[in-house]
Symmetry: C2
Subunit: 548 residues, 2 copies
């Protein structure tokens, strides 16, 4: 892969050929924390209790069962499942066989799901019984040798059209609960996942045993993970393996709560589990933590969740959510940054820098909206469009590049996407700054930033400013081609129901925050904005529509 020169020094006497393997994490937990609980909801929604000793035995049984089916080193095994106990067990059973655990995103279209299964060369798919329709939709995938159904009911409860399905628990039941794990070359892929962008087919990332181990330690540092912690992963496990939090928890010997299947429309079980189980670490999106906050506010008995840190790294948590959780439950909503390409956590904004101890509280809340400090062991740099590294002055914006032992250096079998990588750096496509205190703040997507007269205008900053007007429901700012200035901003605005907005009001609102040359050339009031199939704002369509 690498052509760079490298220095070599005196030989060491250390066990440098001891391979970093993910299965050793669970072995450590089972040896030193056998009694530590793994609490989970079964597939009927009932809470059950297990522990590391039991889980280590079940993972052994699972490995015997899978290996008996024919799962072999180098095989890719797709997994369609919720945040279930069995999904956690597969995290260790599959890589322990030197197979690759491929996360299948249950939100993908049938077409994309079939693409992922075929492109990855998956030979097997493990599917939770409740997700059978997704598997049935892709049963024609040519490379699949076998379908493995995960169910808490022997033989399952549901009819399926899948050819020759086998039932995982039934295969496990008579197997030995000990397995002689072989050492695995550490750059072997333990996991894989596919990223979903707004353009093109999902792109595959194969995570090595090494990268997962190092990322887990880095997460310990970032969040002070210890065996006193209790993790409940709320981010779906198919999103970059719930951001690596489960691996960090197992490596530390932390208690784990697996919430199974859940929905933002019914957060009661999640919220009560936070209280009952003493959860101290969690993650997820504002879409689920906002209703949880509402649930706690409406709860008869007040809760004290101080010590709980909830990482929200997908999209920026609103200040109201952060302050709300602190007030209502004493918990910290922690902003951070992660992408599938970065394992994913590479920046986190939890513990305030010592040098900022005297910062005014309001400024600190504002700073908490940034993505935070780089993880120990990750390089982050800000590059201007002409390839100059930018200073950490909080002003000089550029594309954010990442490099390190758990950063992707290529997409699997997608040579046409090679321009996302440069000299070992991953070009994130995000625009951001680093302030003099070292805090990373993302300001825009590179494709959405408006390049005008050699300067950049952040479309997101401008959208947020427009949204300060309570009469505005939605806003989108795009750059449109301009002969003289290269690009000029144009704003699309949707009025809140029962309100009206006009271009002048919008421009007036903006003029207090933006220089005159930055103000949009046009403000267009529309009834709705174009969105992608997963509900994201579709600026690409907006730009092409605008050009017509």
């Amino acid at each position: 892969m690498r052509g760079d020169p490298m220095l070599t020094g005196h030989p060491s006497t250390m066990a440098d050929d001891y391979q970093l393997n993910v299965t050793t994490m669970l072995r450590h937990a089972a040896r030193s924390f056998p009694e530590t609980e793994i609490v989970y909801r079964d597939d009927r929604g009932a809470w059950q209790r297990s522990n590391y000793a039991v889980e280590y035995g079940r993972v052994a049984q699972m490995a015997h069962a899978l290996s008996g089916l024919g799962v072999a080193p180098g095989d890719v095994v797709g997994v369609l499942d919720w945040n279930s106990r069995r999904h956690l067990e597969l995290y260790f059973a599959l890589p322990g066989l030197a197979a690759t655990h491929l996360q299948l995103n249950i939100k993908l279209s049938r077409e994309d799901l079939a693409y992922v299964v075929e492109h990855s060369g998956a030979q097997w798919v493990v599917v939770d019984e409740s997700l059978l329709p997704l598997a049935e939709g892709i049963q024609d995938a040519e490379n699949i040798k076998g379908w493995i159904i995960a169910s808490d009911t022997p033989g399952g409860r549901t009819e399926t059209s899948l050819p020759n399905p086998v039932y995982l628990e039934d295969l496990m039941i008579d197997e030995s609960d000990s397995y002689d794990w072989e050492e695995i070359e550490e750059s072997s892929a333990a996991y894989a996942g596919y990223t979903t962008g707004t353009t093109g087919r999902p792109k595959g990332i194969f995570y090595s045993h090494r990268s997962v181990c190092v990322h887990s330690w880095a997460l310990h540092t970032a969040l002070s993970f210890t065996h006193r912690d209790c993790l409940m992963p709320v981010t779906p496990m198919f999103h970059a393996m719930t951001w690596g939090f489960l691996h960090a928890a197992v490596l530390a010997g932390s208690k784990v709560v697996m919430p199974g299947q859940y929905a933002a429309s019914d957060v009661g079980p999640l919220a009560e589990a936070l209280v009952d189980e003493g959860v101290t670490v969690s993650n997820g999106s504002p879409a689920i933590w906002t209703p949880i906050l509402e649930y706690f506010r409406a709860r008869a008995e007040p809760v004290d969740l101080s010590g709980l840190r909830v990482v929200v790294a997908g999209s920026e948590p609103a200040l109201a959510l952060m302050k709300g959780f602190k007030e209502a439950a004493g918990a910290d909503i922690v902003h951070g940054y992660g992408a599938s390409e970065t394992s994913p956590i590479v920046a986190i904004n939890w513990l305030r820098k010592r040098s900022l101890d005297d910062m005014a509280e309001a400024d600190w809340w504002d700073l908490k909206r940034s993505q935070g400090l780089p993880s120990a062991g990750t390089d982050i740099k800000i590059m201007s469009l002409d390839g100059i590294e930018q200073p950490h002055d909080g002003v000089s914006a550029g594309e954010v590049y990442y490099k390190g032992p758990y950063i992707t250096q290529e997409y699997f079998d997608r040579p046409e996407a090679a321009d996302a990588f440069e000299d070992g750096w991953w070009r994130s496509g995000d625009v951001g700054v680093i302030d003099p205190n070292g805090y990373l703040k993302l300001t825009d997507r590179l494709k959405d930033v408006i390049k005008s007269g050699g300067e950049w205008i952040s479309s997101i900053d401008m959208e947020n400013a427009i949204l300060d007007n309570p009469a505005v429901a939605e806003a989108a700012v795009i750059g449109v081609p301009d002969e003289k200035w290269d690009e000029r901003p144009v704003a699309y605005v949707v009025a809140r129901e029962g309100n009206t907005v006009d271009a002048d009001t919008v421009r007036t609102t903006l003029s207090t925050r933006f220089a005159k040359w930055q103000l949009p050339d046009r403000v267009v009031v529309v009834d709705e904005l174009p969105r992608t199939s997963v509900g994201k704002l579709n600026k690409k369509k907006l730009r092409s529509d605008d050009a017509v």
Copy 2:
């Protein structure tokens, strides 16, 4: 090195060839924590203040200076220094050149020091001006190309007989404060140190960039190291690089206090620095922390050092020291285990296990005397003399073996010592147990344990029990050969001044704690016990004297 078979899986897309290099740690700290302070005492004992930005610049200057002298990749450079700022800088400047920073133990005999310098093939020695006599004592070492003197005074203050000495600071002063660090193959030796046993010459251990990086992350987990912490290393840096604490601190971006030269006879400056600088992590031996406790007890104004955790891993801290610190200063004295062969921290007893939250306070204090829980990522097993792995029952004793990514797998160029290693495990020579909660407790040295009738009697347990009699000043229990029982215990006892003891009293004291068959066959009252040159009890001599 390894002949074991290894599985290989699907290739990953991660940057698995990104080399773990120690210099990147300092680069991260300088980038994200430029303002974080490095406080140090200069060589006249005055406190000075620097920060990571300044230190990173000075390390660059140092690398230019050393490289200018001719220090090249693969070179071994000995360092004779206190816990000084310059010593910390050398930690990064030397490995950054792909040279090996060789710790020279300033307590070694001239003969052993010369052996270490010659056996390691050191080409250069950096010596603090105050330690010149040590360097002058070994100036005939054939392989040394140059002597480099570290002093805060340009040109130094002291005459020296070293041939053609150069002054490090003088070489640095005109050098650039930026250096283009090259990537170094991660199994290159960044550091080396020599262990001093009671028998034979010191044995060399060469620590790789990889092992140091992984150990640093593991220490973060063990001690929840973050950028909020402030480390003052009290263990000398020539003892396994002050147990890796400085690397962990730099990787986290923690504040660091370098105490320079200090002595147990004058702990005032150390004790006041703990208070003034807000130290939260430290380490060292009871020999220095006992007078620090006495200092705080005698201090006019009481201190609150809650949040401070002091790791004592060399020898077991007395319960009185642990309780005393908690009462006098709110600080935790934390027991742990480390050896030069293990980088060194592989077990630590800091945060109580969740499952022991209901343990009675007295039992918890007793448990705190054990070495604690294995570090995340280290394998520990207890092996009987006939090679059977022992259960974690707190009773089944055996030799303690260690394996992992930062454990030594051989001594440098000492093939005759190969029996200390077995299938990738290091045999520590310690006897211990692991209890059902996973806590490691060392009970004896293998060579000192008494093997009687197929059972083991811990010489240390018996010595401690004898010392419960206040009339006893010192005690040593050895095993002497016995035809029927293999070995039988014999106790040597020294009475406290002004007291008398006799064999019967000793046997009576012991009979409440030991079974009848375990009681010593003979109790010998003597005036003094034989000791080694560094003051350790010399049981080898006691055994040979006893046999006469």
